[in-house]
């Protein structure tokens, strides 16, 4: 118990003092996960909408694959991205392994299926009559998509929360493709693992508190935005 209390006390001191190493880790975490979620949104929302609205052979199979992707184990994603970026791999020439870019790629592979799957579900749960009504008023495809996304904004924001929560808190993939290099690819989760292994519980607690705080603040902001839109 003393160990935990002491660790928590020291962690607060580190945070209040503004430890530069911790801040560097926090900023990199936000940069990597924020970029990954943004890319996943740009890919996932159009793809999820198309999946929800289109009819083509094999659509159910694609949806099943996307839904399976929502539960990909991060270490498996890490393994495949590592193999892709490995010097002798198909993308080895890009020299991205053990860089933040590699971590973004891995996190996109984790977040994109979540956002595609939840977007498709959000659009599909809308009243089908609404789509017909919008079309019959003379909306083109772009307008239809925009209106449907606006109508489905509550579950879509839940998709953003799930995607961000999934990548900011995962450790396996970023550890494998980033390498946890100090000052370059060390993020909150990998740093926490390292500090715990080294017995630096105070630093690990500080990092964990920051991780929890970020997750809470991002979700709080999205929830306020979501509920403001929902109680119009």
């Amino acid at each position: 118990m003393d160990l935990i209390l002491q660790g928590a006390k020291h962690a607060l001191e580190l945070l209040i003092q503004g430890d530069p190493e911790i801040f560097q880790v926090v900023l990199l975490s936000l940069r990597v996960s924020g970029t990954a979620v943004l890319i996943s949104l740009l890919l996932g929302i159009p793809l999820g909408t198309i999946l929800a609205l289109s009819e083509f052979p094999g659509r159910r199979l694609v949806l099943s694959l996307v839904n399976t992707g929502m539960g990909f184990p991060p270490v498996v994603v890490g393994l495949f991205v590592s193999m892709l970026l490995w010097r002798s791999g198909p993308l080895g020439g890009l020299d991205l392994l053990y860089t933040p870019a590699a971590m973004v790629i891995a996190q996109v592979a984790l977040a994109a299926p979540i956002i595609i799957g939840l977007t498709a579900a959000a659009i599909q749960q809308l009243n089908p009559k609404l789509r017909l009504q919008i079309l019959s008023l003379g909306a083109n495809r772009r307008q239809l998509m925009w209106i449907l996304l606006r109508e489905a904004r509550l579950p879509l924001l839940a998709a953003v929360m799930a995607g961000f929560g999934g990548v900011i808190s995962e450790v396996g993939a970023v550890m494998m493709v980033g390498g946890n290099v100090k000052g370059q690819t060390r993020v909150l989760t990998t740093a926490t693992v390292l500090e715990t292994r080294m017995g630096h519980f105070d630093v690990a607690i500080a990092l964990s508190l920051v991780l929890l705080g970020i997750t809470f603040l991002v979700n709080l902001a999205l929830t306020i935005f979501q509920q403001r839109g929902g109680t119009r």
Binding site: P128, K129, L130, L132, Q133, L135, S136, L137, G138, A139
Partner: protein
């Protein structure tokens, strides 16, 4: 009087393990400035036929002409603005009445439309003061009127009505019928009205077609069809003794005449 819509040998089916025939070889004309009713029992293919007219669905065979030209030659968005549609349930958007009414015009050009909502609210017999109200707070009858106003705000040449009174009480139904007849007479709007209620078809229709099992049974002037039906199936429908699959009620599974005796009933009328 010109022909607004012409349906030439139109069929619609859904492919799958078992092909479902929704409409078979329909030939039908919608005259300009008249109210054409399409009546038939549930599952007859009435709503499917309606959705072909504004290309919410495409026919599997046959051709549809609007003012003499195939509708496929028109840009689909323009077609839908010329051919407005009102559905069974109003499906208003969760916004104000004014925003709902200005929705179609805003899709064409995003700007303010001062006075537009009030004008169309008056046209459908509602208080213009309702413009600022949340659409969800209206009664179902009022919502359906707003839904009609929203469609009219696009200034369509043809109004497609898919059982617009089926969710309404008798008073609201009668008001909507009056409203549609007034719109037809005052602004010469061509109307295609789908209903499963033969009495409604008799009340509102200038011309009527009876559909059963996805096939045209009879077509003609409404009064003539009800006064002297030429087909046994029509007689059964008017007597309230026709099932959706075109068979007699009370366990008589045989068709009463040769109109599509092999037809499989549509599995799904709405997409």
């Amino acid at each position: 009087m010109g022909k607004k819509f012409e349906l030439l040998g139109v069929s619609k089916w859904k492919d799958g393990p078992k092909r479902a025939e929704l409409l078979r070889d329909i030939n039908f004309t919608v005259d300009e400035g008249l109210i054409s009713t399409i009546m038939g029992p549930s599952g007859a293919g009435k709503s499917t036929l309606l959705t072909l007219l504004n290309r919410l669905e495409e026919p599997s065979a046959g051709q549809i002409l609007l003012d003499g030209a195939p509708i496929t030659q028109l840009e689909v968005v323009n077609l839908r603005r010329r051919v407005g549609m009102v559905f069974q349930t109003p499906a208003l958007f969760p916004m104000t009445v004014e925003q709902n009414i200005c929705y179609g015009p805003n899709l064409r050009q995003r700007r303010e439309y001062p006075g537009l909502a009030a004008r169309y609210l008056e046209m459908v017999g509602l208080d213009p003061e309702l413009a600022g109200r949340d659409a969800g707070n209206l009664s179902v009858g009022q919502q359906q009127r707003v839904s009609i106003a929203r469609t009219l705000a696009n200034e369509p040449e043809v109004l497609l009505l898919d059982e617009p009174t089926s969710a309404l009480d008798p008073t609201a139904t009668s008001q909507i019928e009056e409203l549609i007849r007034a719109l037809n007479q005052k602004i010469g709007l061509t109307i295609v009205w789908v209903t499963h209620d033969m009495q409604q078809a008799a009340r509102v229709g200038d011309r009527t077609m009876l559909l059963a099992s996805g096939e045209k049974v009879e077509e003609g002037e409404t009064k003539a069809i009800f006064a002297s039906p030429q087909n046994e199936v029509t007689r059964l429908f008017i007597a309230g003794r026709l099932n959706g699959n075109g068979s007699k009620l009370n366990g008589d599974k045989g068709r009463s005449d040769g109109a599509g005796s092999e037809s499989t009933g549509p599995e799904e009328e709405h997409k």
